[in-house]
Symmetry: C2
């Protein structure tokens, strides 16, 4: 190749933007690059964008996996300058400006966006606790939790030993944030309303559902009044709420909390998130929970060509506290970074740094009871639940899924029946080498 | 316990009917025992009754698992004399009249019905072929096939080597019966109509879909004219139909058939069924394909208290050939045996042995094209497909599922979009010991 050709090739090659992660933040970045001059590559381990706020409804047999997941390709198919790759990114080499992939090859970039989200943290007890206390971050997690929960009650139905039966009928949820509260409420309805019709040998009154929170109150992002409201609503539904003590042990048969042993076949872990290992390979400052400290414009210190958005980033909000790990926050950050990259590529003035974003606070507690702090107003009960459902449904991708989810909710509202009560133990999927 | 108590306990204990398997046959048996004096126990490894005729639509991302599966408990909840146990039956001990269960304990019976269905047969090559050529008998099978198929095309999209890319884009379906024909047709539409919009780097014309049948024609249960119709319909859809040669090898990278090597990342095995191991433990005569030879009344020779129904039984039809493994046949047999048991328990005259049952023949071939031999009439094209869909949908349990499935079909009819395009690699589900 002549020198002239090399020059021309370099000149005509378009800037390469690599986005790692197809969650709320990553998809928002890519969408802002529509019509830009960039050659965009979106990398994700999974083939689907996941609507995480509804994950607890998959774990509790209300929704099916496909209803809350959309193929990433489908979301981006109108964008000819985007390439989607379903594979694993292993580490970033900022000096060579490449992402090293799972197959050992390099994916070169001119601009890199890390939008890998967060993963479940067991506060240093990963190796002992993770297989007993199921996290809730991926579809596979939710399906595993659903299998665990349904299998435990199937076992209880056949069990003659009262101690083992009680253990099979006990569920412990660790973490009093929005996910922990929502899943506890919906498990309680499942056990008390859906199961009795089908399980003839179970005395459902023997079942225990315990929500454990290390802090002094549930839903700490909400007002104290709302925390008390949530606690009372859960307790009225027969749930035991334990506040103020961290879990000190988890094993195959239960948990220890505040010195008390609770025997439980199902333990769900809805507390603690941390950044994913990829973020650590950036070589910049990482917080104790593995998140990347970024500048005002969400770029990595010393690397203006690298950005971190969404749950992978450590960002301080207007109130001086880290911004919460919400879909709306991730989308807000993703849109900003996408616009910033588009402006740079077009050599126009960058957009101003993102305004402090104040997300609405919404939580669902028990059957059609929620709380909301929305535009300065406090709402509780069914109106808040409705707002929770509709505002979330609005941001869900895919009209077909919206219809299917509404049909499932309507059915649940009327009959307490849950369509996705399915134990599917996986079989291995060998692949050609 | 005094002798008097023992006598009273024996006198008041009701006859115990144990049914192994919650498929079409097993459920039909149990339903006929509604209101009888029997204490019925239904045992199944899974918690769900599966609508197997639609399994290929789960494998091809049209339907979601929960849409074709119903919790067995829900189906039988109106029957207080039925106990459902989700666990594994290991062997039958006819001399002690017990079923030995996976946990090592005995389940005693007075009357036993084996309705375990059939499993995939690789004709003696289980250990080498099963992990490469995926069967299609369970939900886990269908999810594994879906993962395999979607992952192969994801890999092809990233592949730069033309040979490996061609292999990733090649699907071989083994078996020209109704399942093989139906899945081949729907995979072809998936590859040619659904994928191109989302996969920008694939030249879909390079993909190959091959249907392999060892016999001289497809759909041997149908007339020759219909077989030719099906072959032509598949070939018009771009499918290669190979007749007359058995598969002689399967490995991670493809199959060998008629001396020809076909490189393929996805191999689906829709031929060959055999009885499950449990049937062999009856100690009675078993056919070469592991099915139990039964009398006119479906009882086991020498054991009038043991019945075998559905795909686990070897039954000769009016035409002198074994009856086909169809849902309607299994239901027909199950209803008869249920009535027979109920009559015996009530000490009334038994119903006459079942009339030779002539099932309708229905098959779906490609997008909304089917064939039917129904009440002596031959129907082809869209009317036959519609009949296939509606007659099957009618026998599906659960009104909610019917609505959901219709919604999915309607969407597919209009848009070619498939809602369940989801790769969910399973995570382990550890259970308390």
């Amino acid at each position: 190749m002549s020198a002239d050709n090399v020059t021309r090739a370099a000149k005509t090659s378009r800037p390469r933007v690599v986005v790692i992660g197809g969650g709320f933040a990553g998809i928002a970045v890519v969408r802002e690059l529509r019509g830009s001059d960039a050659e965009v590559t979106l990398v994700d381990r999974n083939n689907h964008h996941l609507f995480q706020p509804f994950l607890f409804q998959v774990a509790t047999s209300i929704l099916e996996p496909a209803e809350i997941a959309t193929p990433i390709r489908s979301l981006l198919k109108e964008m000819p300058n985007v390439r989607v790759e379903m594979r694993e990114a292993v580490r970033v080499d900022t000096s060579r400006r490449v992402v090293v992939m799972g197959e050992g090859d390099d994916l070169p970039y001119d601009v890199l966006v890390i939008a890998t989200g967060a993963q479940t943290s067991y506060f240093g007890h990963e190796s002992e606790w993770a297989r007993h206390a199921l996290g809730l971050k991926t579809l596979a997690d939710a399906v595993a939790a659903r299998n665990r929960l349904l299998t435990a009650f199937e076992r209880a139905e056949m069990e003659s030993d009262p101690g083992r039966q009680a253990r099979d009928m006990t569920v412990v949820v660790v973490g009093g944030g929005p996910t922990g509260v929502a899943i506890t409420g919906t498990i309680s309805e499942f056990v008390r309303r859906t199961l009795p019709a089908d399980f003839h040998n179970l005395d459902i009154r023997r079942s225990r559902i315990v929500l454990v929170e290390a802090g002094p109150r549930l839903l700490p992002a909400f007002s104290e009044r709302h925390s008390s409201y949530a606690t009372r609503a859960l307790e009225r539904a027969g749930i035991e709420v334990r506040l103020g003590f961290p879990v000190t042990n988890v094993d195959a048969a239960g948990v220890t909390v505040g010195g008390e042993r609770i025997e439980a076949a199902t333990v769900l872990w809805c507390t603690g998130v941390q950044g994913v290992p990829l973020a650590r390979t950036l070589g910049t400052h990482i917080t104790a929970d593995g998140k990347v400290e970024v500048g005002n414009d969400l770029s990595v210190h010393g690397h203006p060509e690298c950005f971190v958005v969404g749950d992978a980033a450590h960002v301080i909000g207007a109130d001086g506290r880290p911004v919460p790990g919400l879909a709306s926050v991730a989308q807000h950050q993703g849109r900003y970074v996408g616009r910033l990259i588009a402006a740079r590529l077009a050599s126009v003035a960058p957009p101003p740094p993102p305004e402090p974003y104040v997300p609405s606070k919404l939580a669902t507690i028990t059957r059609h009871v929620g709380i909301a702090e929305y535009r300065g107003r406090s709402i509780t009960g069914f109106p808040a639940w409705l707002m929770w459902g509709l505002l979330h449904l609005r941001t869900l991708a895919g009209g077909h899924s919206k219809v299917m989810i509404l049909a499932n909710w309507l059915r649940l509202l009327v009959t307490y029946r849950r369509s996705a009560r399915l134990v599917v133990e996986p079989r291995s999927t060998a692949e050609p080498g």
